[in-house]
Amino acid sequence: MDKEQIFREMKNCVLEGEIELAGELAEKAVELGIHPLEAIEEGFTAGINEVGERFEEGDMFLPELVAAAEAMKAALAILEPLLLEQQAKRKIMGRVVIGTMLHDIHDIGKDMVASMLTAAGFEVHNLGVNVPTDTFVDKVRELKPHILGLSALLTTTMPEQEAVIKALEKEGLRQEVKVVVGGAPVNQGWADTIGADGFAENAIDAVKLARGLVG
């Protein structure tokens, strides 16, 4: 079986959200001596990229995004440890810390963003929901992420996004990290008002935004 064929199968299994098959194909690549980095980039990531495009065209839907991201994770679970062994670091796109604001318990969108960022090669630390401002600041200090993602679904918790940015300024950490905001009531205007570095409408845009900010 030639490499091109395997890469095609990897791409398809991500498109189809075939989690088990993704693991199997990853192992097969290893057996055949294909470099893990190549497998990730030429095979599985090609699938994630196409999923993103087709979602924007209205051709694929949210559950398919989630399934594709899960398939990607299954492949990464096998291939990334090998990269470490071979000391060929996968080009980690960047480190991201993400969470939902204090008093806000909505997580569906945020988790999708986290999934898609992981699938796109970011190292993602998902702090969950109802995250106090101080926790965001502490994590920025501790983990030194490239990007801090703040999610709010309630207009009453959006102000916390501003509070986090102000707290980062006060702690002298604001310049160390790019802060991006999201959530249904959030828009570019709000992002500009509070001095965020970006805003994304959905998980696909979030990946584009993140790539742009670290690139």
């Binding site: 839907f61 949210l62 318990i105 569906i108 969108g109 009531p185």
Partner: protein
């Protein structure tokens, strides 16, 4: 189809009796095996004291069937609401249908039909005053969030504005723990005492669980406080197919029933006999955009099904319908509001929250409110049914007038022509084309603008008497002092 049979007679029911029993049994199983999370030590304690299996680490209560059955039996079958003056107005139960403006929007659409901005106190005043003139909307609601009012008093201040601007009974809700007690004090001031308020409820409190199967600290506390104070509770579950409930309508109904019953159990444990309305705000979760249209047919179907469960339990019911997810008052707004409103009416849902609403319950328009009032009028006419008796059949008249008969000047016609139909306002244009052109060839939005202006200029809602206004003001001033607030857009001074 057999001849002379009643087999294929239509009637709108989504669930058969067997399906209702099945849903009930499975809801009990969800409650007993998966349980429900309550982010409130007090709620967990009440449930544990009443026999639930509580796991403190996960804050989850597994509720036994006996507790659920007891709670269902204790809840009253009907809830009567009295207006500000103490007059009985609506009875929630059976198949009585009543509408209230949807709540709570965060944006107000100005009368140009284009400008949308953050909602403020003055908008709620206008909504209350316009709604007061609308004959097909029996209730009023805390329709908007007040961005020019401190959050600490935001929920209670809305009630104050509604009480001052219209005597209609109110659908309200708290977004704080202290809000319920504050609002109870305001209502008691109007009734004269807490006991008088219990006897004659004026407001229903909406309380929302977090799907699936969770109650936050605030919502748990709101249930407990409303139950203690004898304030009618309306739980508002929000099934989100494919996101927070199964992607199927049936599975979403099941989660809804379990969630609602858990709120019912808590309320009845705290105070047996607490008036309780089985409410909800089901949505269709659009997998293309991650948005949540409430006016989707699928959402209204979920409501119609859970309403059958509510009726099986002998509870009054509620839903969000007669609204639209369009961003503007256009054909989509008209069709979504009508379709969802009529289906909810056919489902016999007692309180339907929606008129005036656009854009996933984030925006409200006065012009849409007056247009929706017509939808409500037509829906209510449908709900009234057809009067069929000797007089209305008019057999003698038909035979007397015979072939080619003219009914126009008959006494029978005079007696019935005004009573039978719902006579719409000029919002619904039924003039002939020439007349319509002469009057400016206007569409419904333009006619709605005129009507809103007319109501605001000419309609005077009955004023609150000075004595009770004084008492209400005193209560609100106390609340303001307690919260360190010194000025609010419409007093009290």
């Amino acid at each position: 189809m057999a001849k002379f049979s009643f087999e294929s007679q239509p009637r709108f029911r989504l669930l058969t009796e067997a399906q209702i029993r099945d849903l009930h049994a499975k809801a009990l199983e969800v409650l007993e095996t998966a349980g429900v999370k309550f982010e409130s030590e007090e709620a967990l304690k009440v449930l544990a004291d009443n026999g639930a299996l509580v796991d403190s680490a996960s804050k989850t209560a597994r509720i036994k069937p006996e507790m659920v059955m007891d709670a269902i039996k204790r809840a009253p079958e009907r809830v009567e609401l009295f207006d500000r003056e103490g007059k009985g107005t609506v009875i929630l139960g059976d198949s009585n249908v009543h509408f209230d403006p949807g709540s709570s929007a965060i944006k107000f659409m100005e009368s140009d039909g284009v400008t949308v901005r953050k909602s403020e106190a003055r908008d709620l005043v206008q909504i209350s005053r316009v709604n007061d003139a609308l004959g097909n909307i029996a209730l009023q609601s805390t329709a908007v969030t007040l961005y020019d009012v401190p959050k600490l008093i935001g929920d209670s201040y809305r009630l104050y504005l509604l009480l001052k601007n219209s005597p209609k009974p109110i659908i309200t809700g708290a977004f704080s723990v202290h809000g319920v007690a504050n609002m109870r004090d305001m209502l008691a001031a109007l009734r004269g005492s807490k006991e008088a308020l219990r006897e004659k409820p004026l407001a229903v409190f909406d309380i929302c669980p977090s799907p699936p199967l969770k109650w936050t600290h605030i919502s748990s506390q709101n249930i407990i406080d409303c139950a203690r104070f004898g304030l009618p509770i309306e739980t508002v579950s929000m099934p989100m197919p494919g996101a927070a409930s199964p992607a199927t309508l049936a599975g979403s109904v099941l989660v809804d029933v379990a969630e609602t019953l858990s709120g019912l159990v808590l309320a009845q444990c705290v105070n047996p006999g607490t008036p309780f309305i089985y409410g909800g705000a089901p949505v269709h979760f659009d997998m293309r955009f991650g948005t949540t249209p409430l006016s989707a047919m699928e959402a209204t179907m979920i409501a119609a099904a859970y309403a059958q469960m509510g009726k099986y339990y002998g509870l009054p019911t509620h839903t969000y319908a007669a609204l639209s997810d369009s961003k503007t008052v256009d054909a989509q707004a008209g069709l979504e509001t009508s379709m969802s409103g009529v289906v909810a009416t056919l489902a016999g849902i007692n309180v339907i929250s929606g008129p005036g609403i656009l854009d996933f319950v984030s925006c409200i328009s006065l012009e849409k409110l007056v247009i929706d009032n017509e939808i409500c009028g037509m829906a209510l006419r449908l709900n009234r049914g057809m009067d069929l008796n000797e007089d209305t059949l008019a057999l003698d008249l038909i035979c007397r007038l015979g072939p080619g008969g003219n009914y126009m000047s008959e006494e029978h016609t005079f007696r019935w022509f005004k009573k039978e139909p719902y006579i719409p306002s000029p919002i619904i244009d039924r003039k002939d084309r020439n007349n319509w052109v002469e009057e400016g060839s206007r569409g419904s939005f333009a006619r709605a603008q005129t009507r809103v202006q007319q109501i605001l200029e000419e309609h005077q809602p009955p004023a609150l008497d000075a004595a009770r206004e004084g008492q209400l003001d005193r209560v609100v001033k106390d609340i303001m002092a307690e919260r360190g607030i010194y000025e609010l857009p419409f007093g009290p001074r």
